[in-house]
Amino acid sequence: MSQENIQFPEDLLQEVGRQIAKFPEGMQKSALLSVLHIAQAHFGHLSEPVMDYVARLLHILPIEVYEVATFYSMYDTKPVGKVKLEVCRTGPCMIEGAEKIVSYIENKLGIKDGETTADGLFTLKTVECLGACGYAPMLQAGEKFHEHLTEAKVDELIEQYRNNPKANYLGL
């Protein structure tokens, strides 16, 4: 993507404005994390040109964006699939069989943890505690939580997202 093509549509620019307006004047940098979420949802991942664009929107230095984008685990600075399947692997989920769910998805999609399918649709990632310990095992697909996972439920989810990858976003 060239630099000129990187531009939010009007509705997202308004959403950026709404995020900035949550903070006092001059404190617009506080909206950075929210704006990066919007950018990632729209552009797919946070490439350098995307981060530079966010820096311009917020009137901050590009380095201030890079250091944040590389610190938080939800941001992708490299391309990922249209749907990220993030399986919780921590304590209570492990007890309830998270490892089995991960290897089931690995076999089903033919990818390993951290990889993306050849068609660019799915990325599998193991993540740390998502706060669903009582409803384990669980995964997050984009912005949605899926709990009490079984192999059959994983099959259903993958089918659903294959047909409609956008369904993993909640929308504004």
């Binding site: 006092p24 610190f71 938080y72 685990s73 941001y75 304590g91 939580f145 909640l170």
Partner: protein, 450 residues
């Protein structure tokens, strides 16, 4: 006898909406406070209530509030910590999702008490759908005159907004949360200065957990003294417990402080006993960072008294034979669970989540993870157990923020109580990858390498 102060109306259909919440007595506390109480009156009631921080540290809330600096002409801020990410904890998510207006009402009361006109809820990025629920509820609160300028003619102004994290456990630490809310990496700050003096944008700031802020609502409604009547000793009121692991009924429960741990695990009102009729092996009662308890110290203290769900009783015996109430992330392990594997899993978590600022934590957590990994997979040596003990001791107390301690404690407690299981992993390198060590036998406690 069980009082529900926070989740009383959780089952009412539509309680997520303003109108139903209002019909159930919602926002009465705000009406009462703005009409008949001064900000200091509320601080006083909260002090009297004995409410302690529900995020994990258990610091008295009223006292924390009284530390806030009030320099002339400088705005102050109240931040709600909704960055819930301590493994085993999911109560704040439940509360915000099911009854968002309770948190908003608590935010109004607490902001009024502290003299804040601009407050924020900082929620972890993964809870994006909860953020949307909160934003909807906040819009309703504005529309009904509970937020904004001159709330209900009282002259008190309050703006409330939600802001998001992006996947970092460390942002649950209050100064890291402040950094993150300023749009920076979540690196904890050196204290002092404390946030009460220099917090968000250098202004006086109070950071409180979701459940703490929600608890201010019943305190204002019923009075601090009435709240202090509930519970036991210095553990007043009710507490949300997130129950997970090998139990029949995982979920979020509001308990009156002081019920026995035995009742909590085995009664049908709560966890409903062990799943599949298995035996209890161990329990982490307050989120992954608190010491794990072997089965013989879960329902009874070392002195043989009933262990209670309270700050004091769960920590009875110190770290030698006790644990902590922490965030109320109650994880139960049955006889089939491997303590070495669980400890390795937690160490991997802390390694992943270390912000990298302090060497003991950055290096030590990764080192512990690697050593535990080789023990779990049958490549460990006997010296590794002492090595782990040595590493955790060198992390604890030597870092800017408590993440270092949180990483050290679970390792220390696992070795303290389950050393034989670690040794078995070394002695049976093949067996330990396919078989489980089983239950520990009750032993007279002797400190390891103390």
């Amino acid at each position: 006898m069980d009082r529900k102060l926070l989740l009383e109306h959780i089952g009412v259909e539509g309680i997520q909406t303003h109108d139903v919440y209002r019909k159930q007595g919602g926002y009465k506390a705000v009406e009462k406070a703005l009409k008949s109480m001064s900000p200091d009156d509320i601080v006083e009631e909260v002090k009297k209530s004995g409410l302690r921080g529900r995020g994990g540290a258990g610091f008295p809330t009223g006292m924390k509030w009284s530390f806030i600096a009030k320099p002339e002409g400088v705005p102050r801020h109240l931040l709600c910590n909704a960055d819930e990410s301590e493994p085993g904890t999911f109560k704040d998510r439940y509360l915000m999702e099911k009854i968002p207006h309770l948190l908003i009402e608590g935010m109004i009361l607490s902001s009024y008490a502290l003299g804040c006109n601009q407050s924020y809820i900082y929620i972890r990025g993964e809870y994006m759908y909860v953020l949307q629920i909160l934003e909807k509820a906040i819009a309703e609160a504005y529309a009904n005159g509970w937020l904004g300028k001159n709330i209900k003619g009282s002259g008190f102004d309050l703006d409330l907004a939600v802001s998001t994290g992006a996947g970092a456990y460390i942002c649950g630490e209050e100064t890291a949360l402040i950094e993150s809310l300023e749009g920076k990496r979540g690196n904890p700050r050196i204290k002092p200065p404390f946030p009460a003096v220099k917090g968000l944008w250098g202004r006086p700031t109070v950071v409180n957990n979701v459940e703490t802020i929600a608890a201010v609502v019943p305190i204002v409604n019923e009075g601090g003294d009435a709240y202090a009547q509930i519970g036991i000793g210095r553990s007043t009121g009710t507490k949300l417990i997130s129950a997970s692991g090998n139990i029949n009924k995982p979920g979020v429960y509001e308990i009156t402080m002081g019920i026995t741990v035995e009742e909590f695990i085995y009664s049908d009102t709560y966890c409903g006993g062990m799943k599949n009729g298995k035996k209890l092996k161990a329990c982490v009662p307050g989120g992954s960072s608190v010491p794990i308890l072997p089965h013989y110290l879960v329902c009874k203290t070392a002195a043989g008294e009933d262990r209670l769900m309270s700050y004091e009783s769960l920590s009875d015996g110190g770290f030698a034979t006790g644990s902590m109430l922490g965030s109320g992330g109650f994880i139960v392990y049955d006889e089939d669970q491997c303590i070495v594997r669980n400890t390795w899993n937690f160490s991997r978590f802390y390694h992943h989540e270390s912000c990298g600022q302090c060497s003991p934590c950055r290096e030590g957590t990764g080192w512990m993870e690697k050593v535990l990994h080789r023990l779990e997979y049958g490549h460990g040596k006997m010296e590794d157990i002492d090595l782990l003990w040595d590493i955790q001791r060198k992390i604890e107390g030597n870092t800017i923020c408590p993440l270092g301690d949180a990483a050290a404690w679970p390792v220390a407690a696992a070795i303290r109580h389950f050393r034989e299981e670690f040794e078995w992993h070394v002695n049976e390198p093949k067996l330990c990858t396919t078989k489980n060590y089983g239950l520990v036998t009750e032993k007279k406690f002797e400190p390891v390498n103390a």
